[in-house]
C-alpha cells in the first residue's frame, strides 16, 4: 500500500519537528536551541496548514517565530551566554531526567495505542478559516477575548515593573 501525498508530507514534517525538538534539548549553545525551536514552530505551522487551520498557522508564525523567539534571542544577546555555564557535575541527574521523560512517553503511547478513533478525512474543512473563527470569537467567545486583553495589559505592566532597575 503506497502512502498518500498527505501522509508523506506528514512524515517529513514530523521527522523535522522531532529532530529539531531534540536539538533544542541537546544542543550546548543556547542560540542553537532557539534556532532549533524556530524550525520546530515552522513545522508545527505546516501541520496546521495541512489540517486547513489557516488562521492558527498564520498566528502561530507571527506570535511564536516573530515575537516570542525574537524576545528569547534578545534576552540571550543581553546576557552574553556564549560561554556555556552549565557545569557537568552530577551527570546522573541528566540520565534520570531522560529516563523519566522516556517512561512518560512509553506510558502515554501504551495507553493510547489501541484507542479507536475515526481517521481524519483528506477533505479540507472550513472551520479553520478566519471568517468562521472570527464569527465564533466575536459572538460566542467575546468575554474571554476581552479578559485576555486585560491579561495582556497586566502582563505588560508586570514585565515593566519586574524589569525596572530599582
Amino acid at each position: 500500500m503506497g502512502m498518500s501525498i498527505q501522509q508523506i508530507i506528514f512524515m517529513v514534517l514530523s521527522v523535522i519537528s522531532l529532530v529539531s525538538a531534540l536539538g533544542v534539548v541537546l544542543s550546548k549553545n543556547p542560540v542553537t536551541s532557539v534556532l532549533c525551536l524556530i524550525v520546530t514552530f515552522f513545522t508545527i505551522a505546516g501541520h496546521y496548514i495541512m489540517m486547513n487551520a489557516q488562521f492558527l498557522a498564520v498566528v502561530h508564525i507571527i506570535v511564536y517565530a516573530g515575537a516570542i523567539m525574537v524576545l528569547f534571542l534578545y534576552v540571550m544577546m543581553l546576557m552574553n551566554l556564549n560561554a556555556e555555564l552549565e557545569p557537568q557535575k552530577r551527570n546522573w541527574l541528566k540520565y534520570a531526567g531522560a529516563i523519566s521523560g522516556g517512561a512518560l512517553m512509553v506510558v502515554l503511547v501504551a495507553a493510547l495505542r489501541d484507542a479507536s478513533m475515526p481517521a481524519l478525512s483528506s477533505q479540507p474543512t472550513d472551520i479553520g478559516l478566519i471568517k468562521n473563527l472570527g464569527q465564533l470569537l466575536f459572538k460566542q467567545y467575546v468575554v474571554p477575548f476581552e479578559v485576555s486583553s486585560i491579561l495582556f495589559l497586566s502582563a505588560m505592566v508586570g514585565a515593566v515593573v519586574i524589569g525596572k532597575k530599582d
Partner: protein, 105 residues
C-alpha cells in the same frame, strides 16, 4: 490519515519538552521547553478539532479558539518570565537554576 499519528507526534514532542525541563539547568532552555510542551498540546487540539469537524460537529471551531487563547497566555507568560529571568541574571550573573536555591535562605 489516522488521528493516532497526530497523537503520537504530540506525545513525542511533549515528552521531549519534559526531558528538557528535567535535564537542562539553563533557565532559558527550560522556558523554551515549556513552550515546546504548550505547542504539542496545541497541535493535538487542532487535530481533534479536525476530527470533530469531519464528524459533522458545528462547534469544532471552539478547539481552535482555545488554541488561540493558549497562544495569548503563552505570549503574556513569556513576557513576564523573561523579565524575571533577566532580573535573576542581573542579581546573580547566572541563569543556572541551581543558583535559585539561594531563595531558601
Amino acid at each position: 490519515m489516522p488521528v493516532q499519528y497526530y497523537i503520537f507526534l504530540s506525545i513525542a514532542l511533549f515528552c521531549i519538552g519534559v526531558m528538557g525541563v528535567l535535564m537542562r539547568r539553563n533557565a532559558i532552555i527550560i522556558f523554551m521547553c515549556i513552550e515546546l510542551m504548550l505547542n504539542a498540546v496545541n497541535l493535538l487540539m487542532v487535530s481533534f478539532s479536525k476530527m470533530w469537524a469531519d464528524a459533522g460537529r458545528v462547534d469544532a471551531g471552539s478547539a481552535q479558539l482555545f488554541v488561540f487563547f493558549i497562544m495569548v497566555v503563552a505570549a503574556a507568560e513569556v513576557a513576564v518570565g523573561l523579565a524575571i529571568i533577566t532580573m535573576v541574571y542581573r542579581n546573580t550573573h547566572s541563569v543556572d537554576i541551581n543558583i535559585l536555591n539561594r531563595l531558601k535562605n
